[in-house]
């Protein structure tokens, strides 16, 4: 039977649906755009990520690879049809969803699988889920949930005063596991125009447009170029380094740079072949400086120097040196950038994925020539960020279309477009030397690194600033000289990626440390412990620290280390192609911006009706600030977390909590939340003349304050309404107390640091060069664990990204702009992870807490390289350690 156009009938979640549709259209498109079932996510349109998995006659199938015609007459099940299944409940209970973008695909895959195999082993689950990528969780909690797919609610909400430290399930988790979370591509407005960008096919290229209006008229679309930009066509995350145009002006500096916008009805724009867009490209001089203002392509360099490193090296008993090369690394969040913009009166509203709403607002306003107050940013649920969603992407583009046309404008990046045009981890070339005395105490260290910052500045200055400060690792080093340079190139923009260059530096430093320990003849863990920073010692910046937990982290690894080394030894005694090894590496990381202000402000208020609201503006990209910040505030105030209603980030509704980066939200926004909670509590106590120990309870319309003897009741309706509609409220700002770095990098760049160490057990197939990581034991000092479940999730996810960095991830511009050539770890690549939380309170952090988000990624890759060397004698010095590189290193080591 032929099926020309007409009506197609299929059964969706048990109901028969007939719709007029193109039989050649992807089922994912039909579900999302025609049936409004946006729980089915699209991450790649190529079957590489599995986010769009639906059940087709019960079998997990990528909806993006299924033409509608093949679904006709069949049963399609989507996440919307699950109806709070036991599996979904288990996902919520286990914290299996972080950002939530992969959750529907995971749920559908697992639902189909569990019907076939109701009592699987862990290995069975790993294989069943091998085709669904997650970038946040490291898969551990997802697999835990599938193995425990039984009904059951999360643990009861903690009592008043006991929120901090409790296993609170993610407060924003329910919509994530239901599949109804609204990500950038999921908010729709009637008659929204679809926007696509015309992008440079290479770089550097000059370009000239042909007859744009003729082309636009012939297609029935609008075309916008840099000439239509009413404001300053430059943006950047650091005011002093604003150098990137929203739309290039005659000259493209990187492949994938946007040069023009095409906007129109979705059915026209989505079908357009932009190859016939009227533009003429010409190759430009590749040897010309990327920016005329920087003739040597040097964007900036950063330096930390103290003592006399050269004489330390000369006098040292032992000196080890090394070099390391790391590639571009792609964030590979499963949600490509997406969002929608519309006008509300004079206000441009943008709802898009982001990590930094206020920065989005200010830069978009500048580009579009609007006052800041006429731009409102509503962060969409963000399907992974890891640093790349700090920079503007489509905000000014859809904003421009909405402003110029007066119509809503929607844009969804393709996977290739996302990978080509957004920021990456800086590729690095680093070298260094470390010296020690006869007793194994480190006497000096030199570090030198070049970081390819790509075509625009982005976070290059931050990387060159953070690297020299952190390249020492969490160790006491009296003589030190570190320099890092960020250099422009006609390549993808390097920006922020979980750790801002520190993970790269740690790879060099921690592998040299192993060399040095082996030269000295010391146990590698003991060497680190001996040299670990301790309270009262100063860092390479001359900052004397308190609450330093690195030695405690290394202590926690001592017993596992000895056992693991013995296990490896025993395994290697059986001669085999598999050689076992154990490696360790540490991390430290300063929380918040480097020696510049980065305040957060939190507002909390009670209404006359007795409702408690928290204005929580820290964007939760999956890391958990929507849960952790309320936990802190609830305990500071002394009311139950369950009574707190959360108003999420929105530049019109929440005060500025800065950006979600630098592992700063728990610490900085948490400190503001602590103070806001305390301040509101103080008002309440003052109002009732009660002492600090009094307990509060909230009932409809009234607040009860009791000290066990006296009970006072505040009738909230009797109080005068203040600003923002509250009868009682507090707003507090916290900014980390730091001290600027001088010309030698001496000062106090951060007020709080976090620490950690990870131990890796792995085996190397010495005939093939393949590496299998079996177990990672991760000891992290969080100061105070606000939420153990969420903290574990951060550790698992950071380790997954660190493992990818070590073993498989390499972004090659123009070649790996998809998720089958660019590899990130799958379920089958993850080791067992044992998490050990250490609590050495920080005197400055809220309730002693320190940051964690970036720390967790830093030790993984160097610990893996150290374990490979332990197993084989070979140090891989070019990442990733792909099998051919490992084998070559083994051969070189044997020569």
């Amino acid at each position: 039977m032929n099926r020309p156009v007409g009506t197609m009938t299929l059964t969706v979640n048990g109901s028969e649906v007939s719709l007029p549709a193109d039989p050649a259209r992807r089922l994912s498109e039909v579900l999302r755009e025609q049936l409004g079932l946006r729980g089915t996510k699209v991450g790649c349109d190529a079957g590489d990520c599995g986010a769009c998995t639906v059940l087709l006659d019960g079998a997990p199938t990528c909806a993006c690879l299924t033409p509608l015609a093949q679904a006709a007459g069949r049963s399609v099940e989507t996440v919307e049809g699950l109806g709070n299944s036991p599996l979904q409940q288990a996902f919520l209970r286990h914290g299996a969803a972080q950002c939530g973008i992969c959750t529907p695909g995971m749920l559908m895959t697992a639902t189909g699988f569990l019907r076939e195999m109701p009592s699987p082993t862990r290995t069975d689950v790993e294989e069943a889920l091998g085709g669904v990528l997650c970038r946040c969780t490291g898969y551990t909690k997802i697999i835990d949930a599938i193995l425990d797919a039984a009904p059951g609610a999360p643990e009861a909400m903690p009592a008043s005063g006991h929120a901090v430290g409790a296993h609170v399930a993610r407060l924003d988790g329910a919509p994530k596991v239901a599949g109804c979370e609204v990500f950038g591509a999921d908010h729709i407005r009637e008659d929204a125009l679809l926007v696509r960008a015309v992008r440079a096919p290479g770089a550097p290229l000059t370009f000239e447009f042909g007859p744009l209006s003729d082309w636009a008229d012939s297609k029935g679309v609008e075309v916008l170029t840099s000439r239509d930009i009413p404001g300053r066509n430059r943006f950047g995350v650091i005011p002093a380094f604003v150098d990137q145009p929203a739309l290039a002006e005659g000259y493209a500096r990187l492949k994938g740079e946007a040069v023009a916008l095409v906007a129109g009805p979705a059915e026209i724009v989505s079908a357009l072949d932009l190859k016939d867009f009227p533009i003429k490209w010409a190759q430009a001089d590749v040897d010309a400086p990327v920016h005329a203002s920087h003739p040597d392509n040097r964007l900036i360099s950063g330096k930390v120097r103290r003592g006399d490193v050269l004489s330390a090296m000369e006098r040292a008993a032992f000196v080890a040196e090394g070099s390391m090369e790391t590639p571009y690394v792609e964030h590979a969040y499963i949600e490509p950038e997406a969002g929608i913009a519309w006008m509300e009166g004079d206000t441009l509203v943008i709802q898009a994925c982001t990590q930094a709403p206020i920065m989005d607002r200010d830069d978009t306003a500048a580009i579009l020539g609007l006052p800041n107050e006429n731009v409102r940013i509503i962060p969409a649920a963000t399907g992974g960020g890891f640093g790349a969603k700090l920079d503007l992407s489509l905000q000014p583009l859809i904003g421009l279309v909405a402003l110029k046309t007066g119509r809503a404008a929607r844009m969804i990046y393709t996977r290739a477009e996302s990978m080509a045009s957004t920021t990456k981890r800086h590729p690095s070339r680093m070298s260094g030397r470390v010296s020690a005395d006869a007793q194994g105490r480190i006497t000096g260290m030199e570090f030198d690194g070049d970081f390819n910052t790509g075509a625009y500045a982005s976070w290059g200055p931050t990387v060159s600033g953070r690297v020299p400060v952190h390249a020492s690792g969490p160790y006491y080093i009296p003589n030190y000289h570190a320099e890092a340079r960020a250099n422009y190139s006609y390549e993808p923009i390097s920006g922020a990626f979980r750790g801002f260059g520190v993970p790269q530096a740690a790879i060099l430093q921690e592998t040299i440390f192993d060399d040095l320990a082996m030269q000295i003849g010391m146990d590698r863990l003991a060497f680190r412990h001996l040299n670990a920073l301790r309270d009262g010692l100063d860092t390479v910046c001359g900052q004397v620290l308190q609450g330093v937990g690195i030695a405690q982290c290394l202590d926690a690894l001592k017993d596992p280390w000895e056992k693991a080394c013995a296990r490896a030894q025993a395994a290697n005694d059986r001669a085999d192609a598999q050689r076992h090894g154990v490696g360790v590496a540490s991390c430290w990381y300063g929380c918040g911006n480097t020696a510049i202000a980065n305040p957060s402000t939190i507002r909390v208020g009670l209404t006359a009706q007795g409702r408690l609201f928290l204005h929580q503006g820290a964007v939760d990209i999956g890391q958990g600030s929507n849960t952790v910040i309320p936990q802190i505030c609830a305990d500071a105030l002394g009311l139950p977390l369950a009574q707190m209603e959360i108003i999420g980030a929105d530049t019109a509704l929440t005060p500025d909590c800065g950006k979600t980066s630098g592992s700063r939200q728990t610490y900085v926004t948490g400190s503001a939340a602590l103070r806001a909670g305390q301040s509101l509590r103080a008002q309440i106590l003052a109002l009732t003349n009660m002492g600090a120990e009094a307990t509060l309870s909230l009932e409809p319309g009234s607040l009860i304050v009791s000290d066990g003897h006296v009970e006072r009741r505040i009738q909230l309706a009797d109080l005068k309404e203040q600003a923002n509609g509250y009868v009682l409220s507090a707003e507090e700002t916290y900014d980390p107390p730091t001290k600027p770095l001088d010309e030698n990098g001496q000062g106090a760049p951060y007020a709080v640091y976090g620490y950690g160490a990870q131990m890796v057990e792995l085996s190397v197939d010495v005939k093939l060069g393949t590496v299998k990581v079996h177990k990672i034991t991760a000891a992290h000092d969080l100061g105070r664990v606000i939420n153990p479940a969420l903290a574990e999730g951060q550790v698992h996810g950071g380790i997954a990204q660190g493992l990818g960095l070590a073993l498989m991830e390499e972004f090659i511009p123009g070649r790996t702009e998809n998720l089958h050539d660019y590899l990130i770890p799958t379920t089958g690549d993850m080791p067992e992870i044992e998490t050990l939380f250490i609590e050495v309170p920080d005197p400055e952090g809220p309730m002693g807490a320190k940051g964690l988000g970036e720390h967790v990624l830093i030790p993984t890759a160097p610990a893996i390289l150290n374990a490979i060397r332990h197993a084989t004698g070979a140090l891989v010095t070019q990442l990733p350690a792909l099998p051919h590189r490992v084998l070559a290193a083994i051969e070189q080591a044997q020569r």
Partner: protein
């Protein structure tokens, strides 16, 4: 809505007639067609052959085994097949992911003609032949002749690959498949090897070995196969597979996944491991 040239006939005759009447893009599992475009729909005109029930399924014939063109890789995994097909089942589990295996077809893997197609080395080691149908009749080609280069086949514009046939002789023996990639699942291989041995009285009576991802088209290793015949199938058997015997049939390239020299060495190691898999595996009683 404009007329969209998308045809999904339910008989082969209708499909061949449409193909005779004009150029169509033949679609089956669409797991290669959709990734090749960023558009929300496939470009037409499309001839979707998945509605033809007769093209799907595995059956035994007088001459051996017949696998219909649109048999899904998941069907292969679930099918009851002799040990000679263990390697094909293992390869089936490596075709993309469970999602891909539920959609992707055997014929699609062949017609896409990727040098890294997971199914090809096994089918070569099974002496597979392909059946090509057109309105003018059928023809049968050995798979090795059907695959003419990377992304190139001997399929004519008016033809549909309708079935893959494995001769009875090649349904004999035991088999092993090894794939090497930089991650566990959903990975394009760096090298892969499919090996089938017929062992009689502890001696190799017949050997079929092929290597994928190390040449423009996956290739058999006839010199090694010959050298193996007559040898005792024991732990020493893999020693015969030296890199120099294997290298002459390979023409690997340097790419993002590995360099050429590594590929050759890895292929030799994988050949050894497949030989060991078979020679040391307990034979079911």
């Amino acid at each position: 809505m404009p007329e969209i040239a998308y045809h999904r006939p339910d008989t082969l005759a209708q499909a061949l007639s449409l193909l005779q009447s004009g150029q169509h893009r033949i679609a089956a599992g669409c797991t290669d067609l959709f990734p090749a475009t960023q558009a929300p729909a496939l470009d037409g005109p499309v001839l979707d052959i998945t509605g033809i029930d007769d093209l799907r399924g595995i059956s035994r014939t007088d001459d051996g085994l017949r696998m219909g063109a649109t048999t899904r890789w998941a069907d292969v995994i679930k099918a009851n097949l002799p040990p000679a097909f263990d390697m094909l089942k293992a390869a089936a589990r490596e075709v993309g992911s469970v999602q891909i295996q539920n959609s992707a077809t055997l014929a699609g893997n062949l017609c896409n003609a990727s040098p890294a197609a997971d199914g090809v080395p096994c089918l070569l080691a099974l002496d597979a032949q392909v059946e090509l149908a057109s309105e003018n009749g059928h023809r049968i080609l050995p798979l090795s002749e059907f695959l003419t280069g990377p992304r190139r086949t001997a399929l004519r514009p008016d033809e549909i690959l309708t079935a893959i046939e494995v001769p009875a002789q090649a349904c004999q023996g035991r088999s092993s498949f090894r794939k090497l990639g930089a991650r566990k699942y959903l990975v394009i291989s760096i090298a892969m090897v499919a090996t089938r041995l017929v062992v009689q009285d502890d001696k190799v009576a017949e050997a079929a070995i092929s290597v994928g991802s190390c040449s423009a088209v996956a290739t058999r290793l006839p010199e090694l196969e010959q050298a193996l015949v007559g040898r005792t199938a024991d732990r020493a058997l893999p020693d015969i597979a030296t890199p120099d015997v294997i290298a002459r049939r390979l023409s690997p390239i340097d790419d993002i996944r590995a360099d050429a020299g590594y590929r050759t060495r890895a292929a030799a190691e994988l050949v050894k491991r497949t030989l060991r898999d078979i020679a040391t595996r307990e034979v079911p009683a």
